[in-house]
Symmetry: C2
DNA sequence: GAATATGTTTTAAATGTTTCAAAGTTTACA
DNA sequence: TGTAAACTTTGAAACATTTAAAACATATTC
């Protein structure tokens, strides 16, 4: 690989002139400019980005640390991040922790070693707090998506899960449902806890008592929720509405209900969360009503927040909160 | 951000000693080591990765340029790449061209400017040849996945699409089918063309004539193939077997066939390609027989080929070809 | 007490860029 | 012809690290 010095030597000029040609700057005679260009082309010269970033103290790169790249749930977020970053001439680099927190930590460190101008990290698990604290401790521009960190000054993009869950539950109540259950995920997720709280608060505000089967624990996949719903039906429990903490388990609920011959939404109304519908679900399932999480917009806002932080070094950390939107389809009036 | 010089100054030693402590090397007195560690901790010192990479001429980073990160088809490939890279202590950075070739080119350049030890690029579109030629022209260690480049010495991981298609078609023939059609994708894809050729060759070898409806053009999604199949059925055409160039359109075929009340596989046998089944398809569709494309293994092999190229600078470019495997499920005996 | 060995520390050069300041050259004009 | 202005070119420092070689200090051996 040729270096700027070699090009300079062969063209019989100083490094300075080569650098000017490289960056399309004035201050080079036409003859020299042409000769330098020729030599560059001859050697297939590519300037070294590391050296350049080192001296410029600027990488024009944003590193994104995802929990998992192999999850279609993140497609909209990834698109929002990439589109917005590239619109501002930044290079967007993605990496994945493969659900492993140590790996994510490793990549955060990697990016923080001067290799990026800023970091965007996603995480919603309670265990992620450790990761977030370590990021916050570094003197690196950073934005957290979904991951909240109380008492720490760090840029955050959040979804108001509590309010979203409240809205969904309230809607079911206003539709006249009283025997409403909530299917939630592992309490390791802040997100799940907040949604659960929103459900409980709405039920409380409307004076609807919670029974022992009002809250059902499943996970974020279709299978477990389906089994739980089957069990409930087998036990003769007859909820007339179900607010599920995510869309994938909501499909599990629908499946169990349809197997049991229940009419949707007459016998059972269902509202999910996320608006995360894999194509082809609509073939077999009715359209799922859900709380849409604006992931694309959240990604966009994340990059904008980061760029703002980069441009204003002293500025205080900010938090932007998005609201989920109720999308009514077939599973709920 | 503190630098090594600042740490050295505050600890009253030379940069060399700080560097040794940083890299856990001997040659530092215990007292100095401790003092340096204390100063580092106090300033939250993080060494600059760019400077380090510049002097070491080694980044321990592999850049992966995908056609599109937001496509579940690539999950296995991404996993294979990341697992294998990290098993060799490399940092795996992913970026996406968002189906845009100029963006992919930009990221290849970016990675090639000394920021990585090697590049892995995916591409199967005919137009990608331009991209590949530009990569091949650079003096950068590189492996192409799926993208073949005739007459150019470049490391490649390929799938034998011709042979896979031949195997699928031959299987249908040996099961006694004679009225076999092939649904193919846009001919901009080498992959599609090779699979089409495999189909044609098998039909030819077994002396089965091709009719005007033997080859149907669709795309790589469910919708178009479904419409084409509906049209065929409406026109009274009665193929008894269908080899589809990819799994997603194969589901479209199944859908149209099931709508028309055809029995699978008795009335119509179907074989797809890729083994790219989104979860939940199995609820409504019978298990799709397909030619499994070993994407995880191909990713693994890609990284291994790249690491080999990095370790042996002079070595000639290699090509590794994988075979697709016939997976028999419900849509074909 | 000198020679040798061992251990510690520093100096200086190297990695590949950019850029400020200074110096050199040409042109324009009085 | 002298001088200012404009343009061109170069040298050197800077960015943050690593490392070979040199320098220095202390301990061991004969």
């Amino acid at each position: 690989m040729a270096t700027i010095s070699e090009i300079a030597k062969e063209a019989n000029v100083s490094r300075t002139l080569v650098s000017r040609v490289l960056n399309n700057k004035p201050g080079v005679s036409p003859e020299n400019r042409q000769r330098i260009l020729d030599v560059m082309k001859k050697h297939n010269y590519v300037p070294n980005g590391l050296a350049r970033a080192l001296v410029l103290q600027k990488t024009m790169t944003i590193g994104v640390v995802m929990d998992d790249l192999c999850n279609d749930f993140f497609f909209d977020l990834i698109s929002g991040l990439q589109d917005t970053g590239e619109a501002h001439d930044y290079n967007m680099l993605f990496c994945s922790g493969r659900k492993d927190i140590a790996t994510r930590m490793k990549y955060v460190d990697y990016f923080a070693q001067g290799r990026t101008d800023g970091i965007i990290a996603y995480g919603s698990n309670r265990e992620d707090e450790e990761l977030f604290r370590s990021i916050a401790a570094k003197s690196v521009n950073c934005v957290l998506i979904e991951g909240s960190l109380d008492g720490c000054k760090i840029n955050q993009i959040l979804l108001d899960n509590f309010h979203g869950a409240y809205t969904a539950t309230e809607h079911l109540i206003k539709q006249g449902h009283r025997n409403i259950i909530h299917i939630t995920n592992d309490m390791n997720y802040d997100v799940s806890l907040e949604r659960l709280n929103g459900f409980v608060q709405a039920m409380h505000d409307y004076r609807i008592p919670l029974g022992p089967d009002s809250i059902i624990y499943a996970d974020c996949f279709e299978q477990t929720a389906c089994q739980q719903m089957r069990r409930l039906i087998a036990e003769g429990k007859k909820p007339d509405a179900c607010f599920v903490g995510a869309d994938k388990p909501a499909y599990g609920v629908l499946r169990a209900a349809m197997e049991a011959g229940l009419s949707i939404p007459n016998d059972l109304a269902v509202i999910g969360f996320d608006d995360d519908t894999p194509e082809s679900r609509d073939i077999v399932f009715p359209g799922l009503s859900t709380m849409r999480q604006p992931l694309y917009e959240m990604g966009k806002a994340g990059v904008e927040l980061l760029l703002d932080a980069i441009a204003n070094p002293g500025r205080e950390a900010q938090t932007r909160t998005f609201e989920a939107e109720l999308i009514l389809r077939d599973t709920c009036r």
